[in-house]
Amino acid sequence: MNTRLFIPCDAGAVAVGADDVAAAFQAAALARGVTLDIVRNGSRGLYWLEPMVELDTAEGRVAYGPVAAEDVPALLDAMLAGELHSLLVGPTEDIPWLKRQTRLTFARCGVVDPRSLDDYRVHGGYRGLERALALGAEAIIEEVVQSGLRGRGGAGFPTGVKWRTVAAAAASQKYIICNADEGDSGTFADRMILEGDPFVMIEGMTISGIAVGATRGYLYIRSEYPHAVAAMETAIQTARASGYLGRRIAGSAYDFDMEVRVGAGAYVCGEETALLESLEGRRGVVRAKPPLPAHKGLFGQPTVINNAISLATVPWILAEGAAAYRDFGMGRSRGTMPIQIAGNVKHGGLFEVAFGVTLGELVDEIGGGTASGRPVRAVQVGGPLGAYFPRALFDTPFDYEAFAGKDGLIGHGGIVVFDDTVDMARQARFAMEFCALESCGKCTPCRIGSTRGVETVDRIIRGDEREKNLVVLEDLCHTMKFGSLCALGGFTPYPVMSALHHFAEDFGVTPPVREAAR
């Protein structure tokens, strides 16, 4: 049997040299007269080990990393001779960082060959669809409702309830839209699943289509993700050729087909109604609600819009049952969350775990502190609209309500770590700058307020009438929070105010007494 290696084709691995490593293995094998089977899998999400190469052995896969192209000749010799090598991490499944996770949505990601439908099926793929077909539309929705799954795009709305609304709407044409616009800094879960397990996206959208009576789907992927676009287009063609998309899918009475649409670099198009405008070919300007997309969505038809991770979780729920999913989690946050640990962190990557893990565990234990080796000062949770948390709030459990209770949000589950060199006034300025850059322009508090916000923070940084401008900033944030149509203008105050409240010293403000007393 040939020696079998797994080398990720995930953009995150490719960006740190995975293609060069794969080429180096081919060259080294040729020079030694051996044949290698190289599978280009997705990433397991242990990014500090990427490019992570896995060797298939009788006892399972063994991981090496991070591998550079220069390491390959000696590494291949060691592999072929069965000798140890300094880059050996150990049996993949025993790596503590992976072992500690509960991989439901990401069970196959990094394991399977994303181009192979057979591999997908061997690893449990399409079992969810099989059960869905046996259950029928109403029972599918009931199952999703019972699972407690809430939207992973940020707002946390119960997925099954949304589906029920669309199912109840009468129309000749309904749509399923998968939102893979993933614009939040610090997030890459959508990207990983699209690249590493693309068939689960197709299966999830298909089940949703059956449940609500929709026959067409659009997968909206941001243009910053060319690898994901390519992986999904290939998978869609394969699924279509194998009877999993098109008429009478998988031999059933249902029709469902889908296509990829590529965004054009506008953050606001991740907002569901702006996304609809964009798909329809217009400027990505947010629509007022009502009507809800569930009633009048794409081309005025009832439409399900869900985040990629929400939809990618559905096949697991159908295959294993609602109760199995609901058993994980805390409070009203059920199941698991693929948390993305990023920024200045030693062990960054995708960590899927039941809700309830604390921020401190994620940053200090799992993330291992900063990459720079300096103290962690702040972490931003939930993307550019999420709050900055100081160490004092590290006991906050990962849970929708707990984060809301601390004036924050979990958003799409991204955590960006900063060390003590960060200047929080600059971060507040950036939040306003980003809002100004990406505002769709529909409401004044967002469009004008954000530009005023940048100027005001600049004045505070310069020490120009600081006390007065701090009041102006608070007022601006208040106006944006309550006068904006969508969360871009409405939530930009979160990073700004959290930076100001928790890190006042960076704004030239004397720390409050409680801080000084510690």
Partner: protein
């Protein structure tokens, strides 16, 4: 390096015709036009307007709304540097300033010799291996000064 076709109204008409049949064809058309010519020439706007039964102003509005669509040709190489938070936490801003200094231009500009366009980008989803960049569609992460300098040199070739 990016190689693009010279502007041709006939070719543009072909691209429009190939995409006009789909639902919501405007973005697919604009992407295809930019892929062919490297930017969205003003001359194409009335053609798209005609094909989609829109006013020219509407088409212009769409082109200008999206950061991706260029109104003039880019340099032979396009280097995009991530400016979002995770990359900031790993010194991305310093690297952006270094690239600007090396090329003698600001983000959003093209060098006078037409070789390099430097653009900001807001997250490439490579945030666990920050700072990140994209050179002509190729992703690069774990940038430091040495790697950035190599990338800039490559772009200048």
């Amino acid at each position: 390096m990016n190689s693009y076709e010279p502007w041709s109204a006939a070719r543009a008409a072909e691209i429009i015709a190939a995409n006009v049949g789909c639902e919501g064809p405007a973005l697919p058309i604009l992407h295809a036009i930019q892929a062919a010519f490297g930017f969205v020439p003003e001359a194409v706007e009335p053609m798209i307007a005609d094909a989609l039964n829109l006013s020219r102003a509407e088409v212009h509005g769409v082109v200008t709304f999206y950061h991706d669509f260029r109104r003039k040709p880019a340099g032979r190489h396009v280097l995009k540097l991530c400016r979002a938070e995770a990359c900031q936490s790993m010194g991305g801003e310093r690297l952006a300033a270094r690239a600007e200094a090396a090329l003698g231009i600001s983000l959003g500009e093209t060098t006078a010799d037409g070789r390099v366009t430097l653009e900001p980008i807001y997250c490439l989803g490579l945030c666990a291996t920050a700072p990140s960049a994209m050179l002509d569609g190729r992703v690069v992460a774990r940038l430091d000064e040495a790697r950035l300098d190599r990338l800039v040199a490559e772009a200048q070739r």
